[in-house]
Amino acid sequence: MSTTITTAAGAGAAKRKTSTRFWPRAWNFTLYALMAVFLANVGLMIATVAINSFGKVWRGTWLPQGWTLNWYADAWKEFQLYDLLIVTFEVMFAVVLLSVLLGVPAAYALARRDFRGKRWLLFLFLLPLLIPPITYGIPLATVMYQWHLAGTIWGVILANLIPALPFVILVMTPFIEQIDPNLESAARVFGARTPQIFLYVLAPLLAPGILAAALLVLVRTVAMFELTFLTAGPDSQTLVVALYYAMFAPGVRTSQSVDAMAMVYMAVTLVWLLVALQFVNPTQLVSRVKDHPQPG
């Protein structure tokens, strides 16, 4: 790995340069090859789900024998996809709405003021993002069964709100920090009351950030398996959980109709992901924003 800048200038320099260039290039190639292999395998894996859902019979051959759309009709009836979709959308939008309504004011307080106990509050808001859902999900489900919340759609919504709310707060806090507080002071000087300041000054400035946070929460909520799984009842399952149960009992359902359901789930997720990616940076899905997001 000696590719240090050569100080030698002369006849041998050009020759040495070509030989020392080999290793960085090979290294570069290896990295891109690794990435390509990973992406190709993920792509092909998703393709198998799609192909299987459209195939009549597919056993041990490269492609299925014959194509059909019947598995979608089967899955629609068998898994009651209509009801599942309704529940999934209800949970999704309720979680987004509640997390924004509760989270944005909290982010505002954290961004604008220093107060006693702020560090503890930040710690409280960070903790649900650091602890994996299955670890706190079991005690949570226990408590929710006692309160008769588990098994209802409200239980599922509240459980999904636990990681969503801190996520909104941590995305919104740096966003609010970069809005000049003088704008609010100026509005106040001119006699605007707090609701007016919020409606006419803050809301338009915050809109891009709220949109980004809401979309990120949306995408994460559709895919949130563990918490929904632990708190849902038969009538409050979302698509992922129903997919898990369909896979858990193999043989009962045909693999093609399970894959058809998987395709519906994928479509729901990817539509929101595509919308989200218009407004946010992909790295934001796993970590909170490092730089201030660009409004607009």
């Binding site: 989270g103 307080a109 994996p132 226990t142």
Partner: protein, 287 residues
Amino acid sequence: MNAPGLAGADRTPWLAAPSAIFLLTLFIYPCAYGLWLSFMPKDGGMLANYAKFFSSDRLWPTIFTTLKLALPATLINIGIALPIAYRMRIKTPRQKWITTALVVPITLGTVLVAEGMLTYFGPRGWVAQVLETLHLYDGPIRLTHNYTGVLISLIISGFPFAFLLLLSYVTGIYPVLGRAAATLGAGPWQQFRDVYLPLLIPGLAICFCLAFVQAYSVFPSAVLLGAPAGPTRVISIAAYEAAFEQYDYPLASAIAMMMGLAQLVVVVGVLALRRLVYRGPVTGGKG
């Protein structure tokens, strides 16, 4: 609704109260209740649940079963993600495409990845067919319903996570530092080792912790892609069975607490190690 500050008390911090109350009731309280419940076993003394955990052959080995999956998965993911993220630290259209493509397996989630893997890596799937056609492997190819299947799924969902997290740390490092080092004669390897790596250590430690904790709490793929009765009976399966099959909530809480404790031990260990090898500001990079 008068201007705050005039009357003395500023009410703005109270805007955080609803969120705090929500998390205290539905996050902190259940965790505390779980801890309390774990000391209230169905029968026996205060520590009976923990005694049961460490004496039962079905329970205590799960700590190591999970560790055997989570540690290699985390090391592989970070080991591959670090050089690639470093390579792609400069913003290019290609970087944007790759990060977008990598987000897809994360958003689809482990359940869908498991469904795809069952067919794709299955005994009659494309991978097995290619290996057979190329005569690379003889005999039955088993990549699912065992340890390998769960490990692969942990890489498929964990690698993009590690990559995107590390990318956000690497791009947070002021690029002029590397160029300054180059002006002083540092080659690419020296730039990485002496400039970027020290600044990356805090981010690397946090990324390791998050990736490990995530892998350690593997659940759906261990059931669907592994052998949940034996080699991939991870700790979350044990906790789930105790809660929802035996309805022994105190024991389930005790297992959940042990899972949290095992994660905590590794996280504290990694952060302590970081403090040993690196002294400096916690957040490296810009400014």
